[in-house]
Symmetry: C2
Subunit: 183 residues, 2 copies
Amino acid sequence: MADEKGFTLWFTGLSGAGKTTISRIVEQELRARGSKVEVLDGDVVRENLSKGLGFSKEDRDTNIRRIAFVADLLSRNGVPVITAAISPYREIRDEARQLMGDRFIEVFVKASVEVCAERDVKGLYEKAFKGEIKEFTGVSDPYEPPLDPDLTLDTEHDSADEDAAQVLSLLEERQLIPAAQPA
Amino acid sequence: MADEKGFTLWFTGLSGAGKTTISRIVEQELRARGSKVEVLDGDVVRENLSKGLGFSKEDRDTNIRRIAFVADLLSRNGVPVITAAISPYREIRDEARQLMGDRFIEVFVKASVEVCAERDVKGLYEKAFKGEIKEFTGVSDPYEPPLDPDLTLDTEHDSADEDAAQVLSLLEERQLIPAAQPA
């Protein structure tokens, strides 16, 4: 793609909702179509840009602002970006939207606390319920769902592949990526 | 340029040596030739990625590692980057080189402490000599010059335009940017 269009798929949702899983499938499919893409995963960013920050509202906001700064740098240079951090606060997500304008695509990766806790992929919910982790989003810290996301993925009912397909359809509709070639 | 090549011009040198001035001229020239480019200036990065960090060796290293992380993300996606932070420690610059490999181009922006202090563009040297600023590179904090930079700019003798021209020549030689069109 000579004339690649930058955008930021901004995934938001609880820990265990499926952000990382779905973002990896979308990433693979974009690469398969010859597109560039960078995934800014919550854990990767904490390690490389935000070491030392905690989980207070202030520190979370700082972390999300850094992700938005980097996503903006990449996407304004034609690089598709997927961010996959919880990003619990509406106000800071809206800041990111203002920064990036039309390049910002908010994707609500939706699953209830109960379902995420049942999955408990990283064993974090058990610790949060026992009080061993403080400030855990959805348990002891707030999560503010998007009011008007570009896309909502119902990960309680859809498979990760189905959800990834919805993301790709939206990108095709907006002519941000080429359609898949027939096999 | 459909087939743009990413690289990172890593400027290093004392405060007042001319990093920002030269990087802005190079930036303008790259844009005039139709190239993308992002400048990661020391002050911009401190504001957006490293607020709260101080000037201890550890904090400086963290700041520089973040710049390298972002420069790598951009340059590996075909975006030319200019970093213009003091980056006083050799070891961390070498880490950045290892991360980016051939995409890393180290440019030593050279001027003595005496000359930088005479210029004292931001009035910082005066404060540093009075002890009002602690940990000031070249005065009360170390600066380790590159041992084998890709390019050394002698800003005590060259004009900023002459130095920028040297940078552009190097990029042309390495076929990283197209030659300037005759006017």
